[in-house]
């Protein structure tokens, strides 16, 4: 098949946005439920709860970024398609996997940690600074995966 390289690359881009986006959607959804619970009882905690809810949302952005890089690489964003060999396409797909997988798992894990942190500020609102650190730690691994995916996508010559 002539365009197999493009197909592989597109699968990679799709996985990056699907995996990371799903992780974020689940994480933000979980934290949102806890944030709503806290805001019902303590409406003045809305802003703090919202920040904690948004923390797991970054994985979706990372997935989108990698998907964009891949689409740009194969020329889809400039209206045409570059000649991508099957080998290059597979390489791009492999490069997307770190953010696809880690984006999914870290988004969910970060959402759960945000829920726990919302519980923390429900009881001790003055500990908001500390409560942000716990979910932020999970972010580290999403950023590491993002870095690997960026470096790999950039390094692949099509």
């Amino acid at each position: 098949m002539e365009n197999l390289g493009i197909v592989y690359a597109l699968i990679g881009a799709a996985l990056a946005s699907l995996g990371a986006g799903t992780g974020s959607a689940i994480g933000v959804g979980l934290a949102g439920r806890a944030a709503a619970g806290l805001t019902t009882e303590q409406p003045n905690q809305f802003a703090k709860a919202l920040i904690l809810q948004l923390l797991p949302g970054t994985q979706g952005i990372y997935g989108l970024l990698i998907a964009f890089l891949v689409l740009a690489k194969i020329g889809l964003l400039s209206g045409g398609t570059a000649a991508v060999s099957a080998e290059s396409g597979l390489l791009l797909l492999a490069a997307c996997l770190p953010i696809a997988v880690v984006g999914l798992t870290s988004g969910i894990a970060q959402g759960k940690t945000s829920v726990a942190s919302i519980g923390l500020i429900a009881k001790t609102p003055e500990q908001f600074g500390k409560s942000m650190i716990f979910p932020a730690m999970v972010e580290t691994y999403a950023i590491l995966a993002l870095l690997v995916s960026i470096l790999a996508v950039n390094a692949i010559v099509v």
């Binding site: 439920r33 806290l38 009882e41």
Partner: protein, 322 residues
């Protein structure tokens, strides 16, 4: 079912639970009046109760706890059957006695059950026991007829208590939550111990005791019944071989010491729920913590009204959840 929203709401309410420090302040208050006012300042009661109206004052708090749980769970309380059944049987016991004595007072019913107290009352009045839920119907008929024919209120209570324990045990088995399972098992086991001790003290025979005890996993009811028919020492010896060895020392002191031992055991079991954010556990823990808190406040208020020394009140107190 998803409990994240409910747990976050309950977490906010945990802040207003009475801490050990506040309990100490209540004990140290100079008088019953001061103690009562201190509770009112903490938001207890509805503001309409007089200081003589303690039971109503505490009932308001119990209803507040149930109301917040009901709202948090979006009015779906099916996961809390184990508690609702307890309330159902309390209401059934009250309804049968109201009908028997012809003194009806619907205000005595607990609001939160699987069926309204008023509906239970009508079912008993019309002797239409089929209108009651399955877990109550048979026991209601048996208890009502027993009371009618023998006028033995104690026997009526035993029938209903056993049916309540069986319903709680089954609800615990059906539940997927570990804390609810533990609570159901502890409730049945501790009730069995209390029944065995009471039967021993009143010299009941082994058949009566076997009938009164309800099946549970951590106590062999046959062995406990034989021990209870034999002697108090035999009960202690048997309990030392079970998970409830710690109860022996409390039982040797007094029945109220055993109640205190059991309440503290329960609080120990629920305490880890303060760090759980996803299951129904924290909601169950909140209900039990509020119940424990209300019990503690009742002890303090009763101590204050009877002008007991602080130390004497302190000895009766339970551990707090927060």
């Amino acid at each position: 079912m998803e409990y994240t929203y409910a747990v976050a709401r309950i977490r906010s309410k945990e802040v207003s639970l009475l801490s050990a420090h506040t309990i100490e302040q209540l004990i140290s208050s100079k008088s019953y009046k001061e103690c009562f006012e201190m509770l009112e300042e903490k938001g207890w009661g509805s503001g309409e109760e007089t200081q003589q109206d303690v039971e109503q004052f505490l009932m308001v708090e119990s209803n507040k706890a149930w109301q917040i749980v009901k709202e948090s769970l979006n009015h779906d309380m099916s996961a809390l059957k184990v508690f609702l059944y307890e309330n159902d049987f309390f209401n059934l016991k009250a309804a049968i006695k109201m009908v028997y004595t012809e003194e009806v007072d619907e205000a005595l019913f607990i609001q939160y059950g699987t069926i309204e107290g008023g509906d239970i009352l009508r079912a008993v009045q019309e002797q239409n026991f089929d209108a009651l839920p399955d877990h109550m119907a048979k026991a209601a008929l048996q208890a009502y007829e027993t009371l009618l024919h023998t006028s033995d209120g104690q026997l009526c209570d035993i029938i209903l208590d056993k049916a309540a324990l069986e319903a709680i045990y089954n609800a615990g088995k059906e539940s997927k939550d570990e804390l609810i399972k533990t609570y159901a098992e502890l409730t049945v086991a501790s009730s069995n111990i209390k029944i065995a001790v009471r039967c021993q003290l009143t010299g009941k025979n082994i058949d009566f005791i076997k009938d009164a005890l309800a099946f549970c996993d951590t106590i062999n009811t046959d062995t406990l019944a034989r021990a209870a028919a034999n002697s108090m020492e035999a009960i202690y010896d048997y309990l030392l071989t079970t998970d409830y060895a710690g109860a022996v020392e409390a039982l040797q002191t007094s029945a109220s010491e055993f109640e205190k031992w059991y309440d503290n055991l329960l609080i120990d079991k629920i305490r880890p729920q303060q760090y759980n954010s996803f299951t129904i556990g924290p909601i169950v823990a909140y209900l039990l913590a509020r119940e424990n808190e209300i019990k503690t406040v009742r002890i303090i208020l009763s101590g204050k009204v009877n002008e007991l020394p602080e130390q004497s009140i302190r000895e009766r107190l339970r551990e707090m959840y927060v």
